[in-house]
């Protein structure tokens, strides 16, 4: 063979082998390690822009290997729905998550869609005391089989860190640390406490946390009651409380927090490390532990002391947050204590003005650094199998700082220019994570960087319920219901449809809703009419369409739907979202209003506008990857005989050509 012929043959050989390989799964080279970075809210447009600006060199390098791919997200494009699709490879009709918020059809009261805590069934009553004879049960409301079951069953080690919609974690062989959906110790999604003697800060507003008035009686001490979880071992479930003594030195502009036998000194503008709290349910017998961080916003002339939501203590968790049970504690011992709540960035504290932009960003970076420590720890021990690691930073922070990059935001001009680089810096931080991940890759290791949805501005609010009322679908006295939640003032006997949650519209269906009036045979016509009318709404301010797609749920999700499924999913246009009031059944006066909350970015709109992103060191074989394909595609990278049922293997040509 001549040298030129040899070179030709050598050049074509990989192609031939690759062609053969795609025809038979057994011949494809399988991976020893697959690392998946779940970057919540990473947006295709922003990612592309920052790559071109040169601030994401690692993402750029990865894109040259497998492309910067758009990927279809879920409908609606909300994180619990999207990540449930990722986990199960199926749609909401199977995994059962249609929105952050579902409602009980009988009472129309909303509830968190992902999990619920059931009280202990049998309780022994001893005077004031209640001794549970069985433990409280936490139930994951997401159904369907996780894709990693087929990996663990076939001997592939699996670790999923801060996995969304997995609270409580499954009890299989996978190592799991629960992420999005994990509550704080009070049972909420994150409830801060703000201690102050500043009368102007004291309000009845309880959104996202509580403001506790405190007073210095002249001895330099503020007695600050820290309200913990309910005490299920006492009659009436009173809240457990411990006292934190906060001593102030106004000359030094410093304070000392004495709680639980330990002290912490903070100067003005300083954050504490994690402080352990122990709430006694039965003194010396049963207690519940949590961890908090304090921030001394102001000491003199007024005390303004922020306390983070009480996170479940990872070393002694009151609720199951990891599988195996000891994993959360082992991680804390290795890397230090960390936020265990599902939404660690305190967006509500910023929305309510408890923290300002600078203070919030500082807290957000604390979260990011903690997450990095966990990530590096897991990278160091990652020898084989699948490692999934989730970052919340882009999602929650871009919700809060979209106003800095969108000149049309009502808050754009009033935002301090110092924070206009926040989004860029966050993306650069994530690029560092991608770089760290790429650094450990060897041989046939695979890296996937995926997001669950993109982002869009949230400049205008649409009051769906007000529109329904104004168009005769809801019978309500607006004077009574204007600023109230939970459908107060609604006459259900004259109501055909109502909105609840971020994208959900429900019919007031006879036989399903209590006192429902819409008959089953009327639903197709009613839904068609609603779809037509909703899609024709225009914003009087700028003439833009408000809703680009009103999806009839039964049309997009074939098969039987659970009773908590909405009848219609509202796909808002870019720039619009369900109003704050409408999400919990309120009826404000105006149908369309400016959004003046710092929460200025959204993705709870038409899924076509906010697709997700896939970066990988392997190039997909399909042009239309979907987030629900990821599980099967990841499993297909290993040498196993049984693949998960849902989705397609997008890296396998044969599977997608038929």
């Amino acid at each position: 063979m001549k040298r030129r012929d040899f070179l030709k043959t050598a050049a074509t050989l990989p192609l031939v082998l690759a062609t053969l390989g795609t025809g038979c799964s057994a011949r494809r080279r399988t991976a020893r390690r697959v690392l998946v970075l779940g970057i919540d809210g990473m947006d295709h447009f922003l990612l592309n822009s920052f790559i071109h600006e040169g601030i994401m060199p690692n993402a750029a390098r990865l894109a040259t290997m497998g492309g910067l791919n758009l990927m279809s997200t879920s409908n609606p494009p909300q994180s619990p729905v999207a990540w449930s699709g990722f986990i199960t490879g199926k749609g909401p009709q199977v995994h059962g998550i249609f929105d952050f918020i579902h409602r009980n059809p009988m009472t129309r009261t909303p509830y968190l869609s992902t999990s619920r805590v059931m009280d202990p069934g049998k309780v022994l009553k001893l005077g004031e005391w209640r001794l549970p004879l069985s433990g409280a049960k936490v139930e994951l409301l997401r159904h369907g089989e996780p894709f990693w079951n087929s990996l663990t069953e076939q001997g592939i080690p699996v670790t999923m860190v801060k996995l969304p919609v997995e609270f409580p974690p499954g009890n299989g062989k996978a190592r799991i640390l629960s992420g999005l959906g994990t509550p704080d110790l009070r049972g909420s999604q994150g409830s801060f406490t703000f201690f102050t003697d500043d009368a102007r800060s004291i309000t009845d507003d309880t959104a996202g946390g509580i403001v506790v008035p405190v007073r210095d009686y002249g001895d330099g001490c503020y007695r600050c009651p820290v309200r913990g979880p309910e005490n299920s071992m006492r009659a009436g479930n009173p809240k457990m409380e411990i006292m934190a003594d906060v001593w102030v030195d106004r000359d030094a502009d410093a304070l000392r927090i004495d709680v639980g036998g330990r002290s912490t000194v903070l100067g003005r503008g300083q954050w504490s490390d994690w402080i352990e709290l122990e709430f006694q349910a039965i003194p010396h017998v049963s207690s519940v532990k949590g961890i908090v961080r304090f921030y001394a916003k102001e000491i003199s002339p007024r005390l303004k002391l922020y306390m983070s939501p009480i996170n479940i203590h990872p070393m002694d968790p009151a609720l199951p947050i990891s599988n195996p049970h000891g994993l959360s504690g082992d991680l804390a011992r290795e890397v230090g204590l960390y936020y265990t709540q599902g939404f660690p960035e305190d967006t509500k504290a910023l929305s309510r003005g408890i923290l300002n932009d600078e203070e919030y960003l500082h807290q957000a970076w604390i979260v990011f650094k903690e997450r990095l420590s966990l990530f590096h720890h897991e990278l160091n021990r990652f020898k084989a199998g699948l490692l999934f690691f989730y970052f919340s930073s882009l999602d929650l922070n871009i919700h809060m700082f979209y106003r800095t990059i969108d000149p049309f935001s009502p808050l754009h001009e009033s935002t301090d220019p110092r924070f206009k680089a926040a989004v860029r810096e966050l993306y650069a931080g994530i690029d560092g994570v991608i770089g760290d991940a790429m650094d450990i890759l060897e041989g046939d290791d695979r890296l996937l960087v995926i997001s669950d949805h993109g982002f869009a501005p949230f400049n205008r609010s649409f009051n769906l319920n007000s529109w329904l009322a104004g168009n005769g679908y809801v019978s309500v006295s607006l004077s009574n219901a204007g600023n109230r939640d939970m459908f107060e003032g609604v006459d259900w006997s004259g109501t055909a449809a109502y909105g609840l949650g971020l994208n959900s519209l429900y019919l007031n269906l006879a036989g399903r809703e209590n006192g429902g009036i819409v008959k089953r045979e009327e639903t197709p016509e009613l839904l068609t009419r609603l779809k037509r009318e909703l899609e024709s709404i225009t914003d009087p301010v700028n003439g833009k369409k408000v809703i680009s797609n009103a999806f009839i749920t039964s049309e997009i999700f074939p098969g039987p739907l659970p009773p908590h499924a909405p009848d219609m999913i509202i796909g808002y246009s870019r720039g619009y979202r369900a109003s704050w009031k409408t999400t919990l059944g309120g009826f404000p006066k105006d149908v369309l209003t400016d959004n003046t909350d710092p929460w200025s970015g959204t993705h709870c709109i038409d899924p076509a506008i906010v697709p997700c992103v896939l970066l990988s060191n392997m190039r997909p074989e399909v042009d239309d990857p979907d987030l629900t394909d990821m599980g099967r595609s990841i499993a297909g990278m290993f040498d196993i005989s049984r693949l998960p049922e849902g989705g397609r293997d997008i890296f396998r040509r044969k599977e997608n050509s038929g």
Binding site: W247, D249, R256, R262, S263, T264, G329
Partner: protein
């Protein structure tokens, strides 16, 4: 008392020095096992072994008597009464050795708590130090204190009502630091590089009678404007044994008891 404290601390430092190279858990297990064996040996020396042997035989006979005469209540009552009486004699007999052993046991307990009960100064997070003064604290600034092998995080604050001064320090690594406050030199230990030094949760310039049982770092050259005592907000530590998290006390009790049981069999000591 401070000299008693100092002598005891030094004695234990010397005794435990050879274990300095071991990880803390292994050092604790070793100390626990040796303590258990020593306690049994001391008990064997100072107790009436012959008397205990006789009493045990009699009590065994009385238990058998109860079991064999279960159908005769009067006999059972008689044996039970003798058993109770012998049991009381046994308790009286072991009272003396128990009292004698209580002193080294309490000293050891305090020393182990001070050496193994705390994680010491963490290398990666600040710790708050509080100084207690007898009178109103002198005006203090961060320059009044220096921290060797670490640093001070301002501000330094005064709580006039409590006559206290508080501030935070950090360690440059996993080693202990030394705080220099006026004419005080206060070592703040670290278990991570433990070689016999105390990982105390505080110090006391004039220790009380009870301090030998719960030792603090003794400061000998206290001046008039120096703090009386102080304490550090150290995190507790626990040890992983057989997949469980144990406090130092649990490790000590379990391993000293296990060693003691083995020792009674091997040394043929009656307890």
């Amino acid at each position: 008392m401070k000299y008693v404290n100092l002598v005891l601390n030094t004695l234990f430092d010397v005794f435990l020095y050879p274990l300095g190279w071991l990880p803390p858990l292994w050092g604790l297990i070793f100390v626990s096992a040796v303590s258990g064996i020593l306690m049994v040996m001391i008990f064997g020396k100072i107790s009436d072994q012959e008397g205990i042997a006789v009493l045990r035989k009699r009590m065994t006979g009385e238990v058998l008597g109860i079991l064999l005469n279960a159908g005769t209540p009067a006999t059972v009552i008689s044996f039970a009464a003798r058993l109770i009486a012998d049991n009381t004699r046994y308790l009286v007999m072991i009272l003396k050795p128990m009292v004698v052993m209580a002193v080294p046991f309490m000293l050891l307990w305090g020393q182990l708590d001070a050496r193994y009960g705390s994680a010491g100064l963490p290398g990666n997070q600040p710790v708050t130090i509080t100084f207690q003064y007898a009178e109103e604290p002198p005006p203090t600034e961060e320059n009044d204190f220096s921290v060797r092998n670490g640093g001070l995080i301002p501000p330094v604050m005064t709580v006039d009502t409590l006559k206290q001064v508080s501030f935070r320090i950090f360690s440059h690594g996993s080693r202990g630091v030394e705080i220099l406050a006026n004419d005080l030199r206060i070592p703040v230990g670290s278990i991570h590089e433990w070689n016999g030094s105390l990982v105390s949760r505080g110090f006391d310039t004039s220790p009380s009678l009870l301090s030998p049982f719960h030792p603090t770092v003794t400061v000998l050259d206290a001046g008039t404007e120096t703090p009386d005592s102080g304490w550090y907000s150290f995190p507790d530590v626990d040890y992983r044994v057989m997949g469980w998290r144990w406090s130092w006390a649990a490790v000590f009790l379990v391993f000293s008891m296990a060693a003691a049981v083995v020792a009674t069999g091997v040394l043929k000591i009656k307890v």
